[in-house]
Every structure is written in structure tokens, then in C-alpha cells.
Symmetry: C2
Subunit: 410 residues, 2 copies
């Protein structure tokens, strides 16, 4: 008998029929003798409907009141799923984040979980109940309703698994696991049986949007065994296990090729090379709520340096405006240039730590196809390059082949 | 400066535009220096939508889970109204029933309020906040979400006014007050400036559906000054004040004519006149969840008696079936006869206590029009008769005129 936490996203509970499907799946696990806790999202479309309603009242909705409104989406789902489980002949009880209670800080619309009181859930499990918990939401120390931000239901699932010391946290989604790269770009892409947390973090942040980054961080911190499965297959199979332990013996060198099409590159040229300059450049960008991805600064030679970074393409114009009109005159840079027709490709793998030559193999493979590398950024387990957008698919395909990702791993 | 509790129903908050109207009205009261607490219903249609969703999962939804789902309707409204108040430049904060906390018993879908913790609300009022509270809902001692049943938002408003010892509880609705009778039947019907609680109770239970009965009982018990006003007029006027004190000096003898079209009459003939017989007749009816309205039993003469009662017309067939097939053979009654083409007309007024002859005037007025009276039932402040449905409008008109209800009162 195992204690399993399952998390179902919005499309998996998008209609009464789908909610009944989820109940049938939970019933299978119960029939195998497992204890099950389920975390659910709002029915697909519901969160957007509620936000739109709020914006009809206030263009920029008050964060506290927005959380009051938006949290009702998951509250409806937990009631419906508890009923569907009862219709399957199971005992079931629903809990809002506040009822559990899932204590968070007070950062409305992007709160962080501080603790989970698992006593009620444990008592229900001991009495053979299936426990259904609203994802995405919590309550602060003053009793205010909070939400964790988009995708926060994954985090709820993992946090519940951590608090309950569950044997496994299963994230049901619309894909059947994590792939070596996007199968729409490379038909030979394979589902990985397992991937390390660190690789998953790099894959997620690089655009393989299977799991919320925060939930993966959380799972790593609390050593939760995390598995990604399909909620649309009758037999979801084994999905992809996200492992905490590194097993370098069996580990492939590279786990996957991640990419992001929506990159725009900006370079500030001739920046005075002195302390505090990075903040003077990025501070105004950050103040405008523009997310910055890669940041590169080379060592200066003539007392000045070039400073490059990438932003989401949709915010390129806004970022360029800030840099040209606020930053450049203020810091006395020579010029600001940008390119919004770029893309980022990354090879990710824990194995590269102990294998030299990964970077040179990557660069050589791209060179052989005549693909120019515009920016390079590396971490311990990934190498990212920015290239011209038109070469993106080609780059992903040749790298996938060069690193033998189409071959079944041991 | 007064402390006012205002309650707005589903149609008054039925769209973002109407919610903004409510906010503007509250702002006017604030500008006059008053403290305002607002209780709101779900947006019109929302509760029905949620119940229909639940019934897609379970034909008879689990009451605890149904409350979890349905309570989200008011939760959305409080967030939206708090935002709309902020958009009017006011400070505002929303509370669910659980956040307040409005403690109820555990009778899901028809819970009763046990107590209200008014500390947070008082603190907010002291800090110049408008407080917005979800109507219709509460929380039991175990932290389960409960609802008060349909129309329970009125009860929430009155209960808040009682707990806060508010100067007035204003119920905004789609009519501008309580009328002497339905203006659609009698164009001369007048809005009453005031009506006593007891009269209001009789008027409400007789089909003048301006206020929930329970909220009026509650107001009477806690001596809350209750006022019915229109939420659709720019200047709602003074509406109708529901008074706790009787002022017999100025009180008109009769306040109004109430009526109910959907009555069906059932008579059990030749019932053995012995103890327990009423229960043997009505027990099975009640077990089938059929509400019984008037009940009449005459003194028996030959050891048997006739026992009559009325039910809602929609339940007539079901009730007849129970009586014919279960009750009659069991108690040995001679026959069961019924008529579902009847209606009930009542004259209501505290003044009739000290005035003889009201009943005889009522009966004479009906007789002069050739309207036969089938059943009579009286209380201290009302006289009800059951008549053939086809005479209903005529009866209401002639009684309205006979008791001078079209004349302005002092």
C-alpha cells in the first residue's frame, strides 16, 4: 500500500465527463489498496473567465480581491470531483486551501507556501477517504485567501506530497512524459523514463512546459518522487520519473534538447566597465516588469564592455525603448542594438559534468550546418546558444542526432 | 453618523455594470458620513448554473460538497463589489462567511446561523473601510462551508445588523417596498410606509415574496430595524419600514391583501375522531417532503370528522396518491377528495386584534360577489379563505376596496 498524491490540471477536469474519468482513475488506485490525495486545478477556461470578469470592474484588479474571486475556480472543481468519487462508491471529502490549511505568505496572486497542516488529511486517509484539495490556493496568517500564481496547482501537489511524505506525486497532464525534445520538431524524439531534477529545472525554464518550475524546485528540496503522466490515456503507462538521485553509471550524457522560439536579443555597446553598471542597465527593465532570460557580459578591454541579454519577443519594443531613452543617456553607453528574430537552443544533461567536449561537439555540429552562434551561456548541466530564428528547427534536429538522443538509453 | 447594513440580491448584482451601480450607491451613503456593511448574493443565474453542474455529476448532490460549490457564487460577487468600491475611491475589503466568521450548525444547504464574530468587521469600519460580506453562507464548528438555503442572503444581512447593532438593515430588491396587495391585480395598490413584523411574516408566508421569512423572524427576534428598498431606482426613496413596535394609534386596521394562486385542497372524509389521527394523515405526506400549508379539522359529531389541508399545486398528484393508497386504507377513512383549482386570499393586519367584525366584513364582501368560501383559517392578525381559483382577482380587488386600502393612511 502506497500513499499517492495525484495532480490533475485544467484540461483534465475541463468537463463533468472528464471529472468522472478522473474519478474512475482514482478508483483504480484505491482498488489496488493505495491511499490517494488529489490536487486539482480550475476547469479549463474558468480562471480566465474570472479574471476577465474582474477586469470589467477594475483594469488592474486589486490583488487581494482577485485572489478571492479566482480561487473559486478550484473550489468548484474539488466539490465536483468529491461528488464524482462518491458516485464511484468511494468516500471522498474536499478541502479548500484555507480548510487544509495551506499557509502561505501574503503575496497575493504569487504567494509562496510556508507550511501545510496535514492532520485533517491524515485522519481522513486513515478513515479510507479520498481527499480532494484545491490546487493553486492557500491562506495567509491573517486568514486572507491567496493564490500561488499560474501553474501553482503543480506546486500544491508537490507540497502536499512533501508534507504527507507520500510515496509518489503523480502530475497528470496532456502529454505522457518528458521527451528528449519537441516531437513536432524531431519525430525521433523519445520519452525519457527518468530525468534528474536539475535537468528538469533546466528543461522547464527553457521552454519544455510540462511542469511548473517552482513545483520541481519544491520536489527537489523535499525529495519528492515526481512522475509526469498523461491523463488522457486509459493506461497512462509509467510516464517520466523525475529523480532526486543522480545515477551517473546509467545516466546518458545529454538528456534533451530544449529550445525557445520567442527570444529577442538586446546588446548595450560601449558600457563603462565599473561596479553597479549591470544594475543600472537591468534595474529599469525589471521595474517595467520585463523578464530577462540570458545575461552575458564579457570582460572589458578598453575600459568599456558590451552587455547583452534576452527578453521575451513580445516585450522587445518596450525594452528597447527603455534602454535607448532612459538607460543609454544615463550611463553614457555608445549604442543599443537589438534583434527580435532570434531563438535559443540548449543541450541539457547532468552527464555533461563528467564529460568534457560536450560544448565543442555542440558548437562543431552547428558550424557544420553553417549556423552562426550569436550568444553562449553555460551552467553546470546545460549549454545554451542564441541563433538566428530561421535555423531553429535545423539546429534542434542535428543536435538531437549528434548526441544520439534517438537511440534507446540503457 | 449611522451604521447601516445593506443587502443586495442576485439581480441587483447581476452584471459588472449593476455591481458598479451598487458601489455608487454605497459611496453616497459613505459621503453622508455613514458606516456601511454590504451583504451580497451570487450574480443572478450563477447559483442555478452551479447546481446544474453538480447535478451533471450526481443526480442528488452530496450536501456538503454542494455547499462547497454553490458558495463560490457569493465569493465571486464580494470580490467584484470590493473592487468596484475601490474604483469609487473607497477603501473596501471582502469577507466570505468563513472569514467573518459566521458560525452555523452543520445542516448543509439549510444551515442556521449560531453566532457572528464581528471583531474584524468592527476593526475595518473603524479604519473607514466598507465591509463586503458574502451572503447565504457560513462555516460550521469543524470548518465545513455551509449555506443557509435559498434567499439566505437576507438572513445574512439581518444577522449582521443584529450582531453589529446596526442602526438599520436595508434590503435592496426589485420592488420599492411592500404593497397593500399585488399592483398587477389591483392598480390602486399602495406602497406601505411601514408594516409590523408580524404582518410582514403573514404577508411573506402568503406569497408576497419580498423578503425571506427567516430573515423577518430574525429581525423580529433581535429587534433589527428593517427597510425594503428598490435597487433599481436612482433615488430609492424611503421604501417600507418593517417596525418592531406596534403603534395601534396610527395603525390601519388592515395592512394588506395577500394571496396565493398555487393552492390545491385535499379533504379526507370520514376520519375516525381519535388521538393521533392528524399525524397518521400528515406524517406520510411530510415524509414525502410535501409542504402542507393550511390545515383544518372540524369537531366531529358521529365519531368521525373531515380533515382538510392545502398543498402546493405541483405536489397535488403526489399527495393524492399517498392519501388514497397509503393513508386511507390504513386509517379507515371513508373517502379522499381533492381540488387543484383553488386559491387562497388573506387579509392581514395587526389592527384586527382590537377590531371586531373584520371577518364578517370579509365574508360579506365575498358573498356579495357570489364567491363561495371553501375553507377558512384564522390567526390573530390574518384571516385566510380558500376559494375557486377563477374568482381570485375579483376577490382581491373587492377586498382591497372594502378595507379602504386604496386610501392614503395617516
Amino acid at each position: 500500500m502506497a500513499l499517492i498524491v495525484q495532480k490533475y490540471g485544467g484540461t483534465s477536469v475541463g468537463s463533468p465527463e472528464r471529472i468522472k474519468n478522473v474519478a474512475r482513475r482514482v478508483a483504480k488506485f484505491k482498488a489496488q489498496g493505495h491511499q490517494v490525495v488529489v490536487a486539482v486545478s480550475a476547469m479549463s477556461g474558468e480562471t480566465n473567465r474570472l479574471i476577465a470578469l474582474a477586469k470589467e470592474i477594475q483594469t488592474t484588479p486589486d490583488p487581494r480581491e482577485l485572489d478571492v474571486i479566482v480561487s473559486t475556480g478550484e473550489q468548484v472543481t474539488i466539490g465536483l470531483l468529491a461528488m464524482a468519487l462518491q458516485a464511484e462508491g468511494l468516500q471522498a471529502r474536499s478541502y479548500t486551501g484555507s480548510q487544509v490549511k495551506i499557509l502561505t505568505d501574503s503575496a497575493h496572486t504569487k504567494a509562496r507556501i510556508l507550511s501545510i497542516d496535514e492532520q485533517n488529511i491524515r485522519a481522513d486517509l486513515a478513515n479510507d477517504y479520498v481527499v480532494v484539495v484545491a490546487g493553486f490556493q492557500g491562506v495567509d496568517e491573517h486568514g486572507n485567501i491567496t493564490t500561488l500564481g499560474r501553474g501553482g496547482s503543480d506546486t500544491t501537489g508537490v507540497a502536499l506530497a512533501a508534507a504527507l511524505r507520500a510515496d509518489e506525486c503523480q502530475i497528470y497532464t496532456d502529454v505522457d512524459g518528458v521527451y528528449t525534445t519537441d516531437p513536432r520538431v524531431v519525430p525521433e524524439a523519445r520519452r525519457l523514463k527518468s530525468i534528474t531534477f536539475e535537468e528538469m529545472l533546466e528543461m522547464a525554464s527553457l521552454g519544455s512546459k510540462v511542469l511548473q518550475i517552482r513545483s520541481v524546485e519544491f520536489a527537489g528540496k523535499y525529495k519528492v518522487k515526481l512522475r509526469v503522466l498523461s491523463s488522457f490515456l486509459d493506461e497512462p503507462g509509467e510516464g517520466t520519473l523525475i529523480t532526486f538521485e543522480e545515477n551517473t553509471m546509467e545516466q546518458a550524457i545529454i538528456s534533451g534538447i530544449a529550445f525557445n522560439r520567442d527570444e529577442a536579443k538586446i546588446t548595450v555597446i560601449g558600457v563603462p566597465d565599473k561596479p553597479g553598471i549591470a544594475y543600472q542597465i537591468l534595474g529599469p527593465v525589471s521595474d517595467a516588469n520585463i523578464d530577462v532570460d540570458m545575461i552575458i557580459q564579457n570582460v572589458g578591454t578598453d575600459g568599456t564592455t558590451d552587455f547583452s541579454f534576452t527578453v521575451n519577443r513580445s516585450e522587445f519594443a518596450k525594452a528597447m525603448d527603455i534602454l535607448k531613452n532612459q538607460v543609454q543617456p544615463h550611463i553614457g553607453a555608445r549604442d543599443v542594438v537589438g534583434d527580435n528574430k532570434t531563438a535559443k537552443v540548449s543541450v541539457v544533461g547532468v552527464g555533461m559534468r563528467s564529460h568534457v567536449g560536450i560544448a565543442s561537439k555542440m558548437f562543431r555540429t552547428l558550424a557544420e550546418e553553417g549556423i552562426n552562434i550569436q550568444m553562449i551561456s553555460t551552467s553546470e548541466i546545460k549549454i545554451s546558444v542564441v541563433i538566428d530564428e530561421k535555423y531553429l528547427e535545423l539546429a534542434v534536429r542535428v543536435l538531437h542526432k549528434a548526441f544520439d538522443l534517438d537511440q534507446e538509453d540503457a
